[in-house]
């Protein structure tokens, strides 16, 4: 092996605690900060889902600590309907923004994108630091929204994670959950938008300008393509949400009427007849939905694209085989990203918008299934003829493929305007998006955690705990979300704090309880993951520089990587990212930094057997 190098200046690591661990400019530290933020946020979000399930299955359950923490929302420890609805809202918001948008992109992307392209750091380290701390402030604000109860007799905003106007725009007159908690909800999301924009700018610039010698675009790992596309989506979609959020806040606080039409009569008061309810006129509730979903649909792909990237990366590494159809995978990522901007209206078929635009949105939505299917075919192609090693990261990556198919495929049902008539806002919708954007994305992140942990901390996570974690979680999430689909067929509406009012939902009672038990089991087993992460940081088995015998640049540097990633000597790249099982090569893997005659001739499209 001969490695060409070119010298660069070494950058010594900062020595002070604050510069090193708190206000760090190092993308690796910032990445870990993002992951820690997500780990904290996901506990909150998960506990909320646990409380919701308990309320649905066993209404009236007394939980004393709830009564203490939220005297308004759970008097005497028994949850009331408005508390349930603010849990719905907070759970969705925390999970979508502070978990699914932080860990995959801000966390793993921040840590590994610069290393995988052979850069010393992000292009704008200060922006990177700001991006994390702005996001952190957003998280504190959303948490404080929960605890603002008191006079409002509620625990936070009520609106779902979509915050439809005018419910979210009218203020306290519209009932519990529409007061200060809702202001904080909007402010938190606006802050989050700013943080994400700073991050996106950084990712795009870094990837385009700071690739090391030989790292052509088509030699980048698929993770980098995913993070790059995600950053472009974030750059184009978050400003729209930011704008919408500001308008919504103005409607609430400044008496504007962007989303509030004239002639409303709310809680016994006519708009303009009372100082509590100023005169509004001329706004459009549907405008909010357009702005929200113009962001909201790309957001789905922001959550899952990094998981797709990690899955491709890990499947190749553990199948000991090049990614099947690398080029097609890149095009599929682009196609998903691009089409993701033209389908937001499928959330709005029955919103009152033009039925003609529903048809356009519907057909475009079905077509986004094509690149998704292409990715699935290529994952299976990657496994085909492989020599699969079943370590925990691989199990989760395989789980990702299974769950992505299971969750994504029902988009074929929900994307059809006709079928949306019965399906809209029933349980099949949360079933669908939890499986695909929630659980599949999280499986991608579990895979990423088990896979990169040795590089980040120099130690393996415990394999046995990891496997138990996988098996229970995998069966658990199927048990939770598949039954929810059939609840949707029967017509069970979302965002109901109780189903007791409706006779036609009685048939579903056993399923509701089954789902709750599955959820409790699955949530409990996540404790193993938390234990594994923190225990392994200090006690895990020591890992070398390239413990998985992988090929990309993060494995060519020391474990953990030095402050400037490559100890002052930027690597040179000679080949594609997934050169496994190359005939004639001494090992079954060739790292990107290895030069030599084994490099296959031609463009590598026509594989040959040996």
């Amino acid at each position: 092996m001969s490695v060409e190098t070119h010298e660069v200046h070494r950058h010594p690591a900062p020595t002070g605690f604050i510069r090193k661990y708190i206000f760090s400019l190092d993308h690796k530290v910032i990445g870990i900060q993002y992951i820690m933020l997500a780990l904290a946020a996901v506990i909150v979000g998960m506990l909320m889902s646990l409380l919701m399930r308990i309320n649905l299955s066993w209404p009236g359950t007394k939980i004393s600590i709830l009564g203490t923490l939220f005297p308004g929302g759970a008097p005497g420890g028994v949850m009331n309907p408005e508390f349930y609805l603010s849990l719905v809202t907070m759970h969705g918001t925390i999970m979508v923004f502070f978990v699914l948008t932080t860990a995959p992109q801000g966390g793993f992307g921040n840590y590994f994108l610069p290393i995988q392209i052979g850069a010393e750091d992000m292009a704008f380290p200060v922006l990177n630091m700001l991006s994390f701390w702005v996001t952190f402030v957003g998280f504190i604000v959303i948490l404080s929204a929960i605890f603002l109860s008191g006079s409002e007799s509620t625990v936070g905003p009520i609106g779902g994670w979509t915050g439809y106007a005018p419910l979210s725009a009218l203020g306290a007159i519209a009932g519990p959950g529409q007061g200060m908690g809702m202001n904080l909800w909007i402010i938190s999301i606006a802050i989050f938008c700013v943080g994400s924009l700073l991050g996106a700018l950084n990712f795009i610039t870094t990837l385009l300008n700071m690739r090391t010698r030989g790292m052509s675009l088509m030699r980048m790992p698929l993770t980098c393509w995913a993070w790059f596309t995600t950053a472009v989506l974030a750059l184009l979609s978050f400003p729209v949400l930011l704008g919408g959020g500001i308008l919504l806040l103005l409607d609430r606080l400044a008496g504007t009427s962007f989303f509030i039409p004239g002639g409303l009569y709310v809680s016994g008061v006519l708009s303009g007849s009372n100082p509590n309810f100023p005169l509004h006129t001329g706004g459009s509730p549907i405008l909010w939905q357009h702005l929200f979903w113009f962001f909201g649909h790309p957001e789905v792909y922001i959550a899952i694209l990094p998981g797709m990237g990690a899955t491709s990366h890990i499947l190749a590494t553990f199948a000991r085989k090049p990614v099947f159809g690398y080029r097609a995978m890149v095009f599929a990522i682009f196609a998903i990203g691009l089409l993701g901007f033209f389908v937001w209206g499928h959330h709005m078929f029955i919103s009152g918008m033009s039925p003609y635009s529903a048809i356009a949105f519907s057909v475009l939505t079905l077509s986004i299934g094509v690149p998704s299917a292409v990715k699935t075919f290529n994952w299976l192609g990657t496994l085909w003829g492989g020599r699969i090693r079943f370590a925990t990261p691989m199990l989760f990556a395989l789980g990702f493929v299974s769950l992505f198919v299971a969750g994504g495929i029902t988009g074929l049902i929900l994307g059809q305007s006709s079928l949306d008539l019965p399906m809209h806002d029933t349980y099949i919708v949360p079933a669908h998006f939890h499986l695909v954007m929630g659980v599949a994305s999280i499986f991608g992140m579990f895979a990423a955690t088990y896979f990169w942990f040795p590089k980040m901390f120099g130690r393996f996570m415990n394999e046995r705990l990891g496997q138990i974690h996988f098996w229970v979680t995998f069966v658990g999430v199927y048990s939770i979300f598949v039954p929810m689909h059939v609840m949707g067929l029967v017509g069970m509406p979302r965002r109901f704090s109780s189903f007791a009012e409706y006779e036609y939902l009685r048939a579903l009672d056993p399923l509701v309880t089954f789902v709750t038990i599955a959820a409790i089991t699955t949530i409990t087993v996540q404790l193993l993951f938390y234990f594994n992460v923190f225990w392994s940081m200090f006690k895990g088995k020591k890992a070398g520089d390239n413990p998985w015998e992988a090929t990309t640049l993060e494995w060519s540097t020391t474990t953990p990587p030095p402050h400037d990633n490559f100890a002052g000597v930027l690597p040179t790249v000679y080949r594609g990212p997934y050169e496994f099982a190359v005939p004639g090569a001494p090992n079954d893997y060739l790292m990107q930094t290895e030069s030599g005659a084994e490099e296959p001739s031609g463009n590598g499209h026509n594989g040959h057997k040996h």
Binding site: I158, G283, P285, A358, R387, V490, E501, P583
Partner: protein
Amino acid sequence: MGRVLAVIIWLLTLLSVVIFFNKKWWLPPAISDHAPALDRQFLLTIIIVGIAFSAAQIGLGWMVWKYRDSGKADDRALYTHGSNRLEVVWTVITAIVFIGLGVMGQRVWASLRLHDAPAGSYSVEVVAQQFQWNFHYSGKDNVFGRTDPSLIDDSALNFIGIDESDPSAKDDSVTSSLVIPVNRPVELKLRSKDVIHSFWVPPLRFKQDLVPGMEIKVHFTANKVGKYELACAELCGQLHFKMKSYMLVLPEDQITALRALPQEQFQTKVQELLTNTPLAPSY
């Protein structure tokens, strides 16, 4: 481990298919004219979904069953970067199936939503408000009395702001349940007083948001007499889950008799019918 994973994946696939297709939990029995076509499209879609889902999972299970690492150093994976021909084949096939399905999925929608209600439809104004439904009937003259938000007075039970001075309002009635004729197109004019609500009767296979500031006209034909539960399907606040009503589908002659009644008797009669009609079996 590969074999265990394969078996688990196959089992989960089988159970998922069974829970869908054993029809213990399924769409409720349909009661509208557009429902059979919609149900056919749903069945076609779910069969395609089921086949694609099963094929992908069986394939995934097969890969992890068959291509386990042997642990021998010289036993290497197949060295291939893919096949352009395969990429083209599966891209084209999925594009045809998915987009074809998407185009077919517009038919019921187009038949319901791209044209106005047929002449002679039975017309009802629906005005939703936080946690209550109001249904406004035009009475004998077939003309809805004028309404105005500034006349709304919940405490005086004028929930929709009917202008009593308008002569055409004299014979109008407002109820909290929806009463419609069987086998005759029904046009709903949907409005909301405060926030977004959504009109949802599961066996009708029909849902539509009611948006403040808009009057949204939709139509359908119910073809089975009976009493059905009506829910709000869009989060509208604290008691969203209690925003319940009923839809009564009656023979035409009963509807005619009902419409001839003055408001108070109309309301009493509807209440009586509601009490005496058992809920249609949901499954």
